[in-house]
């Protein structure tokens, strides 16, 4: 196993088990239905779940063709109705109206509490109606926010084909990315292309990213002669990557520990545990780690990283020496904090809903190393924080920026504290060299805005004269 060897000692981990705010993990529907184009997501829960998706995530209206609630009513909860028959009725209707390639059942707290056996029902129904049904129990009792994606991908990992198809044509079918990259080119060119790659065992990346970022990271590895055989998830359910025993896998998101475990234990893949490709430093470390596993000497990474940093300087100088406090929301906190420390910021506290020290080991080690190299104190890592206590610490520490969930942003701003919504980092394109600037664009926005409204304070909210 390639999980990083170093268990950082000096980082301080605490757990407040407090009352903290984050989004429900079923919110993953918001981005996954867009990512997997032939899917249908059925959230099996109550009005509370539905209203959340409708109002906080704004999912319902726009996703309507490929998303619905199976709203549990009194009869379902008191078990007067037969779950199987009810789900069959709904899924048959979905098949008739939408004919998706897969129906993803998203379990909720309610299906957990009333112990609906979704995993038991799915195979029977799948056989009966002839559409694959994937079950993800993305409930709020066990998970927070982005971990919803983890539950879906872990379930999908079981559905990846376990043999590379023999026929060459079929293979092309499967590999959406190579098709994209080779789009419209002749066979010979493609064959010639193959020579650009070093010979190495197949590598599959996991984590849901917008298509442009998938292309960027795939190209980044291609520069090193590394070929990405597939992504989990793919653009279409029918194009899930092949996973044979012994394939290498690597996660690009910090919240995918269950998927990683499933890939290792159930699919017998080898996990490359690397820091995550967020920020130029993380991206570089990620590429280096993959190269090292394949025995490849990375080419031109120094220059590439330096060139990206040079392009960031105008933003970096705005935040150098400033402090940032993460209240904790989307589990991207460690990676973002590490990047921001590298930019010269200090981080007193990183709140995080759930800390998997094994899956994030390489990232934690890099954070520690980065702090040492930048000569700043190590952050305190606070799992399941208590928001009320955090606010007291924020008042005391007066950080220059607080990255927080949406519920606390306006009130903190009203108290003169700069904030940035953590959820924006979930939805923005932040991975890879190319998008490092977008991360800083978000981080610096409140600081830039405040520069332009400088020193107005709260008793005097507007400028008296506008400068033209």
């Amino acid at each position: 196993m390639t999980l990083a060897e170093t268990q950082p000692q000096a980082l301080e981990f605490e757990c407040e088990t407090g009352n903290y705010h984050t989004f429900c993990p079923i919110s993953c529907v918001a981005w996954l239905y867009q990512k997997i184009e032939d899917s249908f997501f059925l959230v099996i829960g109550t009005k509370t779940c539905g209203y959340f998706l409708q109002n906080a995530m704004g999912v319902m209206i726009f996703a309507e063709p490929r998303y619905a609630m199976a709203e549990l009513e009194e009869g379902d909860i008191s078990a007067q109705l037969n779950d199987y028959e009810e789900l069959k009725r709904l899924c048959t209707q979905i098949k008739r109206d939408r004919n998706p390639s897969v129906i993803v059942w998203i379990g909720t707290c309610t299906t957990e509490i009333i112990k609906t056996d979704l995993e038991g029902l799915a195979p029977r129904l799948e056989a009966e109606i002839g559409i694959p049904i994937v079950v993800a129990r993305a409930n709020g009792l066990d998970y927070a926010f982005t971990q919803g994606e983890d539950t879906v991908l872990a379930a999908m990992a079981h559905r990846c084909p376990d043999k590379a198809p023999v026929a060459e044509t079929e293979k092309e079918e499967r590999n959406a990315i190579s098709r994209l990259i080779n789009f419209g080119r002749k066979k010979e060119d493609v064959a010639a292309d193959e020579s650009e790659y070093v010979k190495h065992p197949p590598l599959v990346l996991f984590g849901s990213l917008p298509d442009p970022v998938v292309t960027q990271l795939t190209m980044e590895l291609k520069r090193q002669g590394i070929k990405v055989s597939g992504w989990l998830p793919a653009k279409r359910f029918t194009e899930l990557p092949v996973l044979e025993e012994g394939y290498y896998v690597s996660g690009i998101n910090p919240f995918l520990s269950r998927t990683a475990t499933t890939l290792m234990r159930r699919r017998k893949c080898k996990l490359i545990g690397a820091p995550f490709p967020i920020g130029p430093d993380g991206t570089r470390a990620w590429i280096e780690k993959i190269c090292s596993v394949f025995g490849i000497e990375p080419q031109g990474l120094d220059e590439r990283e330096a060139q990206i940093w040079a392009g960031l300087e105008d933003y970096v100088k705005l935040i150098r020496g400033k402090s940032v406090f993460f209240m904790g929301d989307n589990l991207l906190e460690i990676s973002l904090a590490r990047f921001l420390v590298r930019c010269g910021m200090t981080v007193p506290e990183i709140g995080i809903p759930y800390m998997d020290k094994r899956y994030q080991a390489a990232e934690l080690a890099l954070l520690e190393k980065t702090c040492a190299e930048m000569g700043v104190p190590l952050p305190r890592i606070m799992e399941k924080p208590d928001n009320y206590n955090q606010l007291q610490r924020i008042y005391e520490l007066k950080p220059d920026l607080v990255i927080t969930g949406m519920a606390h942003a306006n009130p903190l701003e009203a108290r003169g504290i700069n904030t940035k919504w953590s959820v924006e980092f979930t939805f923005a394109q932040i991975h890879g060299f190319t998008n490092a600037r977008d991360v800083l664009e978000l981080v610096t926005r409140p600081l830039r805005r405040n520069n332009s409204l400088k020193d107005l304070g709260w008793d005097k909210l507007v400028r008296e004269e506008a400068k033209l």
Binding site: N19, H21, D76, G184, A407
Partner: protein
């Protein structure tokens, strides 16, 4: 189980929390799983609230499920009591945690022992009631509790105010244009020489409740919130109430005349006729407008109305009576109060629809092909698909329903706003139509204008494919920047790689 795509009214706990957080110095503890606390997000974002939403989730997770939640809930209540000293803490489950069937009343009693403030369990059946019904019940429960409390202490006032006065019941946080309506109603009361005694729940404290019996009458502008409370106050103190929604010229006048009657019955001698006349003719532009040439073009046009009871009924009456518009269908999602709605609108429309199923309303709109819709965000969405303009007149709320500018729906200023809304909705339709005829709309799909025409650069297929993935509104800019980048470097073919290199270089 039912397939649902959209909800007009939220779950019960949202209603309870809206009431609790409307009051000053009241805190709510929500006993629920982590993901249920989005009320805080909605309120903070929609109302652009400067204060922390006074709602804390006592998180239910696996551990709590295994160990039982009593200790945690009681701790959270007493902790909040000590931290913030609220006058009242309201405990509510969500429909999810109410499945656990715990004895929450018992939790509350235990917590009360150690708390300085009052502690109360919101008495709502989460399986039976929606947001609107729950809000109504919670308001009633809190008000009765404090009236009783004052009575026991002998603190209830015995006399009415010297001058005519009113309690305005039903303004709450996250209500549709509630803040603006409230301001307008206060102005109206001032114009009528009536003192505002208490506005409840928004902005009042629970100890303001005991002052309510001093008012000469209660005004309940919204059908959905406050009626049971007004009835209770009438029964307890004989305070009469007015439940005519002052929306539109006709109903506003009717509301004022009712107030006049009530005041005069109690010995005042007011006559508001001149005021009504003056307002109708000169302050409100609505009456004049409906007789103007502009409005003639609207005569006989078809409209569909859908919303909550208050707004859908009022809007139907305005369209039919004041603007001469043909309401082909009036509908409400307040199924629980359907009879009232039917009675209110039947004579002003062809068809009445009572439904919570957005599909049914969408189908009806498609079948009827009205020139305009007045509905919720959902109908606006339907209208977009069918190319029918829609004015939003009712919750579910949306950030657009919290405009920075002053936009009441009630009173005389409200009549102007509504007229604007109606007129713009229809003419927007017409302009759209004209634009279509003259090809003014840029609706045709295209990557960017002039992608091949004036460009000396070639885009490879993968380059184009990547460009196509970039959202339309920035695509043009990205394309320009990329081509500039390519030109500077004498790159002839723009591939995906070039596109991203350009992005890195210019930060586009």
């Amino acid at each position: 189980m039912k397939l649902a795509y959209w909800m007009y009214a939220g779950p019960a706990h949202i209603g309870t929390l809206r009431i609790a957080s409307s009051f000053k110095n009241v805190h709510a503890i929500m006993h629920a799983p982590l993901g249920d606390d989005y009320f805080n997000v909605m309120r903070s974002m929609l109302e652009r609230e400067r204060n922390f939403t006074p709602v804390t989730t006592s998180v239910v997770d696996r551990n709590v499920l295994a160990r039982g939640s009593q200790e945690k809930v009681v701790d959270n209540i007493t902790r909040k009591d000590a931290e913030e000293h609220p006058d009242l803490i309201v405990l509510t489950p969500t429909c999810t945690s109410s499945i656990l069937q715990e004895d929450l009343q018992n939790f509350v009693e235990r917590a009360q022992i150690e708390s300085k403030g009052d502690v109360m369990l919101a008495d709502v059946n989460h399986y039976r009631f929606n947001e609107l019904q729950a809000a109504d019940r919670t308001l009633n429960q809190i008000a009765q509790f404090y009236i009783e409390k004052a009575r026991k202490r002998g603190e209830l006032p015995t006399a009415k105010t010297e001058k005519p006065s009113v309690n305005i019941i039903g303004t709450s946080t996250m209500g549709f244009h509630n803040q603006h309506d409230c301001t307008e109603l206060k102005r109206l009361m001032a114009d009528l020489g009536i003192e505002v005694n208490v506005v409840i729940p928004e902005g009042s404290t629970v100890y303001d409740i005991q002052k309510m019996p001093r008012a000469w009458f209660n005004l309940v502008p919204y059908r959905e919130l406050g009626l049971p409370l007004a009835e209770y106050l009438q029964e307890q103190f004989g305070t009469p109430f007015v439940d005519i929604t002052p929306m539109g010229v006709v109903e506003t006048a009717r509301c004022i005349r009712k107030i006049q009657q009530i005041l005069n019955e109690q010995g005042a001698a007011v006559n508001y006729e001149e005021f009504i006349n003056e307002q109708t003719l000169h302050v409100s532009q609505a009456a004049w407008f409906s007789r103007s040439i502009d409005c003639q073009n609207l005569t006989g046009k078809k409209a569909v109305v859908f919303g909550d009871n208050t707004h859908a009924a009022a809007m139907t009456k305005i369209l039919a009576r004041e603007m001469g518009i043909h309401v082909v269908l009036a509908g409400t999602y307040c199924k629980y109060d359907a009879d009232w709605f039917r009675e209110q609108v039947s004579e002003y429309c062809d068809e009445v629809l009572i439904s919570e199923d957005n599909g049914e309303i969408g189908d009806a709109i498609a079948r009827l092909e009205p020139s305009a819709i007045f509905g919720t965000q959902m109908e606006r969405h339907v209208g977009k698909r069918l190319d029918i303009p829609c004015g939003v007149i009712a919750a579910p709320i949306h950030i657009q329903n919290f405009p920075i500018g002053y936009k009441p729906f009630m009173g005389y200023e409200g009549t102007n706003q509504i007229t604007d809304l109606i007129y713009n909705s229809f003419t927007l339709g017409m302009e759209d139509h004209l634009l279509e005829i003259f090809g003014g709309h840029d609706t045709k799909e295209g990557i960017t204008k002039g992608i091949s025409a004036d460009s000396d650069l070639a885009w490879s297929k993968d380059g184009l494919a990547e460009l196509n993935k970039i959202p339309g509104f920035v695509r043009g800019k990205v394309k320009r920047n990329t081509e500039k980048f390519a030109r500077e470097r004498q790159i002839e073919q723009i591939t995906a790689e070039v596109l991203y290199a350009a992005k890195e270089a210019v930060g586009a």
